[in-house]
Every structure is written in C-alpha cells, then in structure tokens.
Symmetry: D2
Subunit: 143 residues, 4 copies
C-alpha cells in the first residue's frame, strides 16, 4: 500500500532554453534540485536557506547524475516526482523523475547530500527531527 | 607515451556562489560543460553554436554525473582537464577532472552526447571530420 | 475605473542566492523578465518560444533598468505586477513592480522590446493581433 | 592625458544563448557585473567574496540599467571596458561598455552599489583603502 510521491510542477521558460531551442542540459539539474528543495520545505518544514542561515546546518551535494530521454521546451511544463532512495547515517540520496505535461518521461536524476556541521565541515548524523519525516515519507511512497 | 590533456581554466566568481558561500552545486555541471565546449572548439575547430546554426548538426546530452570531493569558491580558480572516455557510433563520453588552483581535486564529471540530425532528431554516425581529431586526441592523452 | 494588474508569483529559491545570502542582483532581472513572459502568455495567448519558433517573430530587448529597494531571500516569495508603460510603432515598454510576500517593495524594473522580422532583423510594426490585447490591458489597468 | 580603461575579456558560450540563438538578455547584466568584479579585484586587490566573507563589508546593488545595440553570440567574444562614473559618500556608479570582438558596440550598462555594514545593513562611508585606488583609477582613465 503506497501513497503518491510529492510532485513539483514548474513552467519551462524562455530563460531555460538554448540555441538548440530546448532547455539547456544544465537546467535539468537545476530542475531536479528545485524539486528536492520544494520537497524539503514540504516534508521537513524548513527551507535550505533557514537550515544554513538560522541553524548552522549544511548539506553539500556530493553526487549527482541524470539520464535524459526527451528534451524539455516551453511547450510543456515539468512535473518532477521526488523519491528518497537511501538514508545513511549522514547522507541522503534522492531520485527525481521528470515528466513533461504531455506525459513524456524526460529525465531521471539522482542527488546525494551529506549533512555537515558548517563550522567543522565534518559529516554529522542526520538530525532526528529530519530523520523521522524523511523515513516516514520513504515508507509511505516507496523508494 | 602520452601528451598532456586539454585543461580549461576559469575564475570562480561571485555569481557562482550560493548562501553556503561555495559554488552552487549546479554550477559544477556548468563548469564541466564549459570545459568540454572549450575543448571542442580547440580540438574540432568548430563551436557548438556553429555546428547547430550553420551545419544543422546537434548533440543533445543524454547523461551526466559528477562526484564532488571539495567545494569551489572565488578564492581559487578552476582547472578542468578533459578526457574522451568512449567513442561509440553516435555517442561520445567525456570525463572532466576539476581541480582548484590550490591543487585540491574538486570533482570528476562524466558527460555523454549523441549526434543527431536536427531535422529528424535521429542518431547519426559521428561525422568523419570530427571522428579523426577526437580519436587522435584520445590516443595521445589516454582515456 | 481600473482593473487589477497581472501579478506573477514565484518562490525565491536557494539557487537564486549568493554569498551575501540574498538573491543575486542579476536574478532581479530574471524575475522581471519571467513576470513579463508569464504576462505575455496570459494576455496574448502565445509564448515567446512559440512566437520565435513557430511564427518567425522576435523581440530583442533593447533596454532594461531596475531600482532595488529591499533584498529578496527564500524567506519570502515574490509578487511581480506587470504594467505596459508605452506602446510605440515597433516597441513596447513594461514596468514590473516586485513586492515580497511580507509586503515590502523590492524593486521597480523597466524593460523595452522591439518587434523585428527575424530574417531581416529589422523593426516591424507590432502585429495587430498583439496590439489589441496589449492596449486593452493598458487601458484597463493603467500604465 | 589619460590611461586605457580596464577591459575584461570573456567568451560568449553555448550556455549564454537562448532560443533566439543570441545571448539571453539577462546574461548582458551578468557580463557587466562580471567585468566590474574583475575590475574590483585588479584595482582594489580584494575579491567581492573576500570583502563579504572575511571583512564583513557588503555592497548591495541598488540600480542597474543597460541599452543594448547589437546581439552577442558565441561567434564573437566580449570585451567590456569599465569606468567609474560617480563616487559618492557611500555609493559608487560604474559604466560598462561592452564591445564584440568584431568591433561592434553591443551594450552600455550602468551599475550602482552602496557600501553597507553587513550587521546593521546601514550605508557607511566608502573605506579609505578602497577610495584611494578608485579615485586614482577614475582620474587616470576618465569617467
């Protein structure tokens, strides 16, 4: 039994496009990060900005990858579904599945972050207040 | 016997940084693409822009990934070495090794492009005029 | 008697911020352009992308300016109101008033575009099909 | 009797372009800012990053504008000449003249920054150590 994953919707705009008249490859990573950031605010209730500025926590990204199967253009908006693939002691791995509003799958991306203390820049355990909603989300929508 | 790889140098600027006071993760992909673009112009003698606008050729990127080992900031410039890892019939895979000007390794990225006919958006063989300098580069600097 | 102007709402995200932990200055222009692009689709019923790719029309921007009175951060979203200030034979001037979701005025920007034939790259009269909804909008919300 | 202004050279890349196959309007502002940042490091001997992170000084930009006379593409690189137009008690106004490598003038931009104390976010006098090289530059190359 599973719930629906969080889906982040956004327009693909003129600013995203390049000379090939499709969204520039690098924007795909921007879109995936944007989806995880929106998921974070909804699931954890704290923006990345607040985490860093107000709480002194930080999460540098140590890995990203994507496979791209269809181009994005302003003709269609983008719907990005967010999944938590792995929960480590300090690290979290996300999968983002990007689908165009015409139903065509566009990309699958993976992003891994590591929690660090921003003073010492050393890995720390994922704080319990974050761990609980993250594992709960993972349980309910699958990984 | 091997030659030195092509190395693309660039400043890391204010515009690249985020609230964590390091280059935003997505910029790493921008830097890797920028290095491959510069390599292309030097090795093939044709800009991506000219390829698309004047020649009707295109190379959508179908895969990218990166592992990040140290943050980038404006304190150091970036030196990105470009390698050709694989040469397929239609596809090319690059590896970009990004090193800070203080000698610290920052990231290793991989990028795969596929040659297509821009009208039909179908894979085509890598044109011979490109294949020759690409395989020659690969032979001389290693993969 | 006047109607409400079109207001474009968007999040301010991590990706928008810089080392000063506010949205990077250049993003302000991005936000203003994004608001006008959204206005265009709503008012004219055609995206900039479709205008260029399908209709061969183009609108290079020949002027922009902004005065910035308060910084933007992810703490607040942005609401940008769009006004048509001037309608020339070939040119259109917009004013965008950016307000934070806490009610603080953030910026006032102006943007001027010129209609051109993309082949000849020469100014042309604003097509009637665009002129009508544009002047109608201007009449109803003021300039 | 006058010296040559500082000129910042940079490539215009694939990443800068949009569906119209010219550099996206917003990139013009990025280019102008980049030129002033490079000028700053050369003239003042301190990066914006170091000013903020190490010295607690900050310079929010309160105004920008540009008039654009010719598009930029990867066909030509960009040479941006930097001038100091006005020196106030707290504020500095720059003019950036962007010229393509084929000699065609592309844009003239103006940028105004205000020195603030980053704790109080209040205007402060331009520190003497900056004022001296700035006024000296202005005297020698004109405003």
């Amino acid at each position: 039994m599973s719930d629906h994953p969080f889906v982040h919707r956004r327009r693909v705009t003129w600013a995203d496009t390049d000379t090939a008249q499709i969204a520039y490859t690098v924007r795909i990573l921007d879109f995936a990060m944007d989806a995880v950031e929106a998921w974070w605010e909804e699931t954890i209730g704290l923006s990345w900005y607040a985490m860093v500025v107000e709480r002194g926590l930080g999460g540098p990204w140590v890995h990203f990858d994507a496979d791209i199967s269809a181009p994005l253009t302003p003709r269609h908006s983008l719907e990005s579904a967010v999944f938590v693939e792995k929960v480590g002691r300090s690290s979290l791995s996300f999968r983002v599945e990007g689908t165009r509003s015409d139903g065509v799958a566009s990309f699958v991306a993976h992003l891994t972050t590591v929690f660090v203390d921003r003073q010492a820049w050393r890995p720390i355990s994922i704080p319990d207040e974050f761990l609980e909603p993250i594992t709960s989300y993972r349980r309910s929508v699958g990984s």
